[in-house]
């Protein structure tokens, strides 16, 4: 099941209203809140949802351990000691701008983001894969490319650079090609006869967030 751009807009606005209204106090526990609806400054009908979060770069220990496995045992002991002395390693804070945009080609929402260090320098693809906002193990290991992350036999790269569809600015995005199918399966499993159009569409977006949530760990419980 696909969404038209108009349906996308209704879904987003209804979703934001549910988050902000407080009608259901548990709503923001269940769904990632904190989004605002934005429009292109001059051209109407290209709206999207935006949200800013602070995330961290995963520390290097995992990688260090991987590369030192074949080294002598002294190195291993040292690594363990470092781990023990830093139960919560000081992680670098990263500003991430998140967008949920309408992907015309696939007729579904798509998850776009950009990630910068505090000095404004954007992260490389290798660094992107170490962001703690991505669930560990969900992004394939770095392939040596600077442009996109591909899985072994993909129709599309899972994660790629691209222009923001409305703003035209450089972004990263998770490829939306299979979303419609998966969200459709979730929606088929629920009884939506009682719902009006807006409610059904916002439920569609909630299901979409839960699909994206398999990869992106979006913070809950905030407004």
């Amino acid at each position: 099941m696909a969404l038209s751009r108009k349906q996308f807009e209704i879904a987003c606005k209804t979703f934001i209203h549910k988050c902000d209204s407080g009608d259901d106090p548990l709503y923001t526990q269940k769904h990632p809140a904190g989004w605002t609806w934005k429009e292109h400054p001059t051209y109407p009908g290209l709206g999207y949802m935006a949200r800013q979060i602070t995330t961290t770069l995963r520390s290097q220990e995992d990688n260090t351990r991987d590369t030192t496995e074949s080294d002598d045992s002294v190195q291993e002991v040292e690594d363990v000691a470092v781990d023990a002395s830093r139960p919560s390693p000081l992680s670098e804070l990263i500003n991430a701008q998140l967008w949920v945009v309408y992907a015309v080609t696939f007729q579904v929402p798509a998850f776009y983001f950009s990630a910068h260090r505090s000095n404004g320098v954007p992260l490389t693809l290798t660094e992107i894969t170490k962001l703690s906002m991505f669930r560990q193990g969900t992004l394939p290991a770095h392939t040596g490319s600077t442009f996109a992350l591909s899985t072994p036999d993909p129709a599309f790269a899972l994660l790629s650079q691209g222009d923001h569809p409305t703003l035209g600015t450089p972004c990263w995005y998770l490829h939306p090609c299979n979303t419609a199918e998966v969200v459709g399966e979730i929606m088929d499993a629920v009884d939506c006869r009682e719902w009006g159009e807006a409610e059904r569409l916002s439920r569609w977006l909630e299901a979409w967030f839960s699909v994206v949530g398999n990869i992106v760990d979006l913070p809950r419980g905030e407004r």
Partner: protein
Amino acid sequence: MASFARPSPSVFSTSASTSLFRRLTWEGTVPLEIRVDSKELPANSDRGLECYFIQAPRVSYLPLLVPEIKRFLVDVVFDEAAARLVKEEEWWFESEEGNLLKWHWPIGLIYDNHTISSSIRPSASSSSPVSGGPLRLLLHLVSPPTDKLLLSPSAEACKQAFMGQMKEADFIRWGGTKKMTGLRKTEQDGLWEGIKEHNFDEYWRVASKVTPTTTPTRPQSPPPVPSSASLHTRPPSADPNVSPDRDGAYNVRSVPVRIYLPDGPVLQDLVPPILEDGTAHTLGYYLSSHLPQLFPPSSSDPPFQDLAYALVQGVLVPPESEMAWLGACMAGADGWVSVCVGILREGNAQ
């Protein structure tokens, strides 16, 4: 840049004319004048020679020109010390007017986009849609603006961007990417090699497997609806004149089209080849339904004149051009029809 006469479907839908237009599109080149930003020229550079002229293929990309430009700079302009320090992965381009040029856009699109951007600037001298002069580029050697350009331009990154566009065009046309993913790895690589070498035959040997064909049926009438039943009972080989052409330009789900506006967002919508009333979807209809203030519908009363013009591959395209035909014959090598809309002003009309 040339303006074509009104296409007559009987002439323009033969396979001979299809390959003619595909070749014309492919062979299109644009003149570029590339100058290193004088503030960034290394010490001891030969300042009399810092300009480089090239006639670049429309289907090519800026990162593919970089090795050639680098060779020129290293051999002719820079001294040995400066040549050793060149880091071309830091290079970036902007137009004379200060517009940043996206390295993942085809060069033809960059050129046309510059033409339409000039159409809204006060200095009218360079704003004619048919001027055809060189596009003056400023080459910067360091510190690309990462808030405006994608990271890490390289031929390999460009290839990935290109393949992504090809697959997306495939998805738009057929609702899936079976045609693109059905290609062997060597075939997919052949598409990119064709662009790198500007080799029509190498590219189209593969591209013809994913690009729709133009049908010999009259485009004004809706093509027969393909159904699995008719395919089984009447295989295409038995009667080619009446069998549904499943790979035909008028049978795609949607034509891959983007509209570029001067200083505006890039617009994309689904573009069915046939409208609900059974007539072919024309460029004029498409533009007037998306940009009615620039392209007033012909039914408007009193009738208004268009305030803008549309360029595809540098060509002023007549409004009666059919979207399906444009998709099959005048799409870029990445599969997309890029419609660049410029503003008509007194003195720069065609």
